[in-house]
C-alpha cells in the first residue's frame, strides 16, 4: 500500500490535475501537493497524488555512482544464484 512509482507528467489539466504516463499506461492524478510541476517532469505518484518531484540530476548522480562500481572489476567470487532481479 506504500508502493509509489516515478511517472512522467504527460498532460496538465485544470484543478491541479494531470495525466501521467506509467510505462505506457496513462492515469489521472492530483498535483495538489506539489507546486510548479511542468510538462515532462517526473513525479512520485502515491494513492493518486504526486507526493514529490523526482530530481533527474540527482538520479543521474546515483546512476553514475553505480556505473563507477561496475567499472571496478572485482575478482572475489560470488555464489551464483537465481534471483529474479
Amino acid at each position: 500500500m506504500c508502493l509509489a512509482i516515478p511517472a512522467r507528467v504527460a498532460e496538465l489539466l485544470e484543478n491541479d490535475l494531470a495525466v501521467v504516463d506509467l510505462g505506457g499506461v496513462r492515469k489521472e492524478i492530483s498535483l495538489a501537493l506539489v507546486d510548479d510541476v511542468a510538462l515532462g517532469d517526473y513525479v512520485i505518484v502515491h494513492v493518486g497524488y504526486a507526493i514529490n518531484r523526482l530530481d533527474p540530476e540527482e538520479a543521474e548522480k546515483t546512476l553514475a555512482l553505480f556505473a563507477e562500481i561496475a567499472e571496478t572489476l572485482d575478482s572475489s567470487p560470488l555464489t551464483p544464484h537465481s534471483s529474479p532481479i
Partner: protein, 374 residues
Amino acid sequence: MKYIDEFRDGDLARKLAADIRREARPEREYGLMEFCGGHTHAIFRYGIQGLLPDCVHMIHGPGCPVCVLPIGRVDNAIELARMPGVTLCCYGDMLRVPGSGRVSLLKAKADGADIRMVYSSADALKIAQENPERQVVFFAIGFETTTPPTAVVILQAETLGLNNFTVFSNHVLTPAAIGAIMQSGEARVDGVVGPAHVSTVIGSRPYEPFSAEYHMPVVIAGFEPLDMMQAILMLIRQINEGRAEVENEFTRAVTRDGNLKAQRMVDEVFELRDTFEWRGLGWVPDSALQIREKYAAFDAEKRFELTHASVADHQSCECSAIIRGVKNPLDCKLFGSVCTPDNPIGSCMVSSEGACAAYYTYGRYREAQKQDQT
C-alpha cells in the same frame, strides 16, 4: 520504465553484493532494520537477503500501515460500515484484515454493508458528491505518504461545503514508531534503512535525533533493489567505522526538509493525538494524528461518536512480535498452514508489504534457491 529499470540491474546488484561481502566483517553480526513495508516487499521480491553474507540480517520493522492497525480500530471501521445510511470507503488492503471474531470488512460487505474500495482519497470525496443522501466515511490509514492526500480532501470538502463526508483518521507517524522500537531495545538493531516515500514528504531531518540519541546509523533508501543494496553497504560502512549519521541514498526524491507544501497542508488539518494504540507496539504517545477542532465537521470519530476498545490479537498469531522485529513469520505455528493470504489470521499476512505475506509469496522461492546452491 525510466527511473525504475536502471535501478534493477542484476549484474550491478551482484557487484554491490560482492562489495558488501568484502566489507562486512564475518566475526560480527549486522542487524539491519528495514522500517518500511515497501523495503520488506523489495527484499523478498528480488531475493536480496540471498545476496547478503550470513552475518548481515535484515529485520522487518513496523512500517506497514495495514499491519500496525490494531483490531479495535478495524472493529470501529466495521461498526461504521454497518450503520444505516453509511457508505465506507477504504484502501483495498484493509478489506481483508480480520477484526474481532475474525470478521473483516469484506465479510461485512458480503453481509450487506455498503463498503467501497478506493484507490485514492479523491475517489472517496467523489462518491460523497455523487451520493448526497449517504453519509460517506473515508477510512484513512497510513504513514506520512497517505496523510497529505487525506488533508487535501478534507480541505476540498470544506470548500465544497459537503456535509455528508467524514474521515476516520488512523494516520500514524514514522519517527514515533522508530522511537518506540529504539526505546524498547528488544530487537537487535545496528542500523536502520529509512523509508523512501515517507521521507520524500518529511525529509531526512526527523531521523537526526535517532542517530544522535541512540548512536544509530540511518540510511534513507529508495525501493529498487540497487537502492537497497547500496543502502546496506552504506550502513555496513558506518557501523564498521563507528559512525552514526543520517545518510541519504535516495537523493533523487528526498531532501533534508521534504515536501513543505504537503507538510503545511497536513499541519492545517491535523494535530497530534496524545496517544494511539499500535498492533505490536501498544500505546505510543504522540504517534498519530487526529483532525483539528476547526475541521471537526469532517471527523467521523466525532460525528459517529466512536469509542475505541483494545482487543487482543488471536492468541497464536505472532504479528505483534514480528512488528517489533523480535520474531519472524516462520516462528509462527499458524504460518502457511492455518494462516495464508487467502485466509489471513493476522494483519501481517494481508498486505503485500506485510512480513508474513512476503515470506509466503516469495519465501518458498527462496527455499528453492537455497537448495539450488547446495
